[in-house]
C-alpha cells in the first residue's frame, strides 16, 4: 500500500497532538505504566507494537509527537519507533477518513472482479489507494482476505460489509456514507 510518508515541517514532535488531547495522553500513559517494563531495553521493546496499537486506537493515527511519547517511555529512539511504524501496514502517520472504504484484495474477490471495483472507487472519489480525501471524509484502501469469500467481491466501509459488489454499485455505497 502506498503511504503518505512526507514528514511535516518544523521541529520533531511539533505537531503537538499529544498535548492537545490530555485525556488520551493520560490514558496512554496509564496503559504504559501498567505494563511490566523493566531495565532491559531489549525486553521493553517487546511492548512497542502493543503500545502503538493502543496509541492508534486512542488518537486514530500516529503523529510524531505521539511516536516521541511512546519512544521516551520505552527508552527507545524515535527512529526505532518510526522504523517499526513504517514497516507495518496497520499503522498510519496521517489521519484517516471518517469512512474507511476497503476493498478486499483476497484471491477469491480478485477472481470475481475486485480490481475493477477498486478502480471505480478511485475514479469516483478522486483519490488513490492508500489516500484520504481532502475533506477528511473518505479513505480508500485494499484489505486482506476477510474470509467472506462466498460474498466476493467484498467491500468494507468501517465495520460494515457489502457483498457481491459490482462496479455499478459503487455510487450507491458512496451515497450510503452519510
Amino acid at each position: 500500500m502506498t503511504k503518505n510518508r512526507v514528514r511535516p515541517t518544523g521541529p520533531i514532535g511539533s505537531d503537538g497532538v499529544i498535548n492537545q488531547e490530555p485525556k488520551k495522553r493520560q490514558e496512554l500513559a496509564d496503559y504504559m505504566s501498567g505494563l511490566n517494563l523493566g531495565d532491559d531495553r531489549d525486553r521493553n521493546r517487546g511492548f512497542l507494537i502493543q503500545c502503538l496499537h493502543k496509541a492508534q486506537e486512542l488518537f486514530g493515527y500516529l503523529p510524531e509527537s505521539v511516536q516521541l511519547f511512546v519512544a521516551d517511555r520505552l527508552g527507545l529512539h524515535l527512529s526505532e519507533v518510526y522504523g517499526v511504524i513504517s514497516f507495518y501496514s496497520y499503522f498510519t502517520t496521517v489521519p484517516v477518513g471518517r469512512y474507511r472504504i476497503n476493498v478486499c484484495m483476497g484471491t477469491a474477490c480478485f477472481v470475481r472482479g475486485a480490481d475493477r471495483v477498486l478502480e471505480e472507487f478511485k475514479r469516483h472519489l478522486g483519490i488513490d489507494d492508500g489516500e484520504t480525501s481532502e475533506n477528511g471524509k473518505f479513505s480508500l484502501g485494499g484489505l486482506r482476505c476477510v474470509g467472506a469469500c462466498s460474498l466476493a467481491p467484498v467491500v468494507m466501509v468501517n465495520d460494515k460489509v457489502y457483498g457481491n459488489v459490482a462496479p455499478d454499485k459503487v455510487p450507491d455505497i458512496i451515497n450510503d456514507c452519510q
Binding site: D42, Q50, Y90, V111, E120
Partner: protein
Amino acid sequence: MIENAKHLREHALELGMRQAKGPRTRILVSMGTCGIAADTEPVLAALREEISRRDLQDVFEVVETGCMGLCHSEPSIEVVDGVEGTMTLYGNVVPGQAAAIIEAGPYEAAGVEVLERTWYCPENEENTNGALQARVVLRNSGRIDPENLDSYLIAGGYQGLARALTEMSPEEVGGEVRESGLRGRGGGGFPTGMKWGFAAARKARDKFVVCNADEGDPGAFMDRAVLEGDPHCVLEAMAIAGYAVGASQGIIYIRAEYPLAIKRLRKAIEQARENGFLGSGIMGGKFSFDIDIKYGAGAFVCGEETALIHSIEGHRGEPTFKPPFPAVSGLWKAPTVVNNVETFANVPAIIRRGADWFKQIGLPECTGTKVFALAGKVSKVGLVEVPMGATLHDIVYGVGGGIRDGREFKAVQTGGPSGGCLKADHLQTPITYETLRALDSMMGSGGMIVMDSDDCMVNVAKFFLDFTLDESCGKCTPCRIGNKRLHEMLTEVCAGRGTQETLAKLKNLSHTIKDTALCGLGQTSPNPVLSTMLQFEDEYREHIEDKKCRAGVCRHLISYVINDDCVGCTLCARNCPVDCISGQRREKHEIDQDKCIKCGVCHSLCKFHAIDKR
C-alpha cells in the same frame, strides 16, 4: 479445580448429563466473522424471540457457535434434538423462517433449505457413510459454544493435556507427536515432533512456545475459524507443547485484523486460568504454563517464523538467515517452538486418542487431514477438511459441488502467493506436500481458489506478484528488486507488449529469485509465475504472439463492440462512466474505442446481448 485425567473425565461426564437434562433441542447458530457478515444476527434474534414468545425456553436452547464452514449457505444453523436423536442442517436462513423452524422442532421444517449432512462431518460422526470430509482440526468448530469452557469440556476438552500431564513423560508426549507423523500445516510441512525434539533437547533457562496466528494468505481463513470456533483447543495444544519441550511461557501472535478471534481467545485464556488449565501447577501437578497474546500489525512476511519472532521482540518483521533455527535460538535467543494454529489444533486429539488413531487418517507417508478454504468459481464455497491424499476431484467436485453455473473447470490455485496452479490433468492427483511441490506449487496454509474459463492465468500470476511486491520486507535484493522486475515483465505480457525474450527472462529471473532469496516468502514468490508458465504455456504464447487474452481479462487485449442486436435503448450510453458510447434513440449505438476504459459496465448491463467482448 480439576486434579487429574480421571477427575476431568468424570467432570465432563457430569457436565454432559447436566446438559442432557436441560432443554431437549439445541439450535446451533454459526456465528463466525463470516456468518455475522452474512447477516446471521437477525436470524439469531428472531429465533430467540420466537422461543420466548412461545415460552419454550425449557425445550430449546440457542447456542452461538463458531464457523460451520458452510460459507455457501450462510446464515446456517443446525437443530440437534436430544430425544429423537435428529440433527438437521438448515442453510440460507432468513429471520422470517424462525417460526417454522421452532414449530418443526426435531423434524425438517417446511419451506426452509435443508443441507445434505454428508457434506459436514464432525469428529463424533467420523464413520458416517458417504462422508466427504474428515474433521479433526475443525472437530468442534460450529459444534460448541466457543465462549463456554463447559461446552469444550463436554466435547473431550483438556483431556489430551490431562493425559499428557498425568500419564506420560515429556519425552513420551514428544514421541507420540513424532509417531503420529503430524507435519506443519502452515505450509512448509516440517515434522512437528522433530521440531519439538530439537527444542526439548536444548538446555536453557527460558523456552517459548509460539502460536503463529498471523494468517496472511489472501484467501485462507482456517486459522481464524479455529480461533473463533474452538479457542481452548489451541490453548490446550500449546500447554501440551510446553510440557513436551520444557517451556513455561506461550505466546499467540495474532493479526490485529481478527477482533472476534482476539476477544474469544482472551476470554478462553481467562477461563483456562480460573479452572487451573493454565497458570502455575496445572491440574495440581508441578507443570506451570501461561499464555500471552501479541498482536501483528499487517505484514505478511511475519508469517515466516524468524520474522514473527522479530516482530514479537518489537522490531521490524524482517526474517533472518536459518540456521540457527528458532528451536535452537529463537525469541530472545531462547529455544522457541513455532507452530501455526492448524498444526496445534491437531495436537489435543492426537494425545487424547493416540498416534495410531491419527495415522489411520490420510496416507501412510502423509497422515492426518488438511483444511482448505475452498473459494472462487466453485458451487459450494466453504471451509472444508479432507484427509491427506484426497484428490483435487474429490475436493472440487465432491465437497465443492463442481463449478458454478455448470461451467468448465480450468485450474485451481493452492498455496496462495507461494503456490501455483494445477489444471484439469491433475484432478486425480492425491494432494500431499510432495505431489504439490512436484508441480511447482505448495500446500501453503490452504487457500484453494477454483478458476474457470473466465480467468486469465497470466493475470492471476500478476495478481500474486502484486501481493508479494506489497508485502516484501525489502531486506534482500532478489525479493525486493527481482519481484518488481517480474511484475513489470508480466505487465508487459498482459498489455500485449511481451516478446519471446520476455518469456525466457521471466523463467530465468524466477529461478534466480528462488535460489537466492533470504526467506521462505522470497524463495517461493516466483512459484505463481513458474507454475502458470509450466501448465498454461499456450496462454502466455497467445498473449505474446496473437495479442489475445482468451479469458477476456487483460484490458489492453480486448475491446467491446456493439453488434446489430442493438435496439438503441440508450441504457449503455447513460451508464458509461466515461461517456464514450454515442447514438440516437432506437438506433444502433457505437463505442469510441479510444475513450473506452474497458470497464465492462455496458456489457453487463445490456439486456439484448448486443455488446460483444473480443
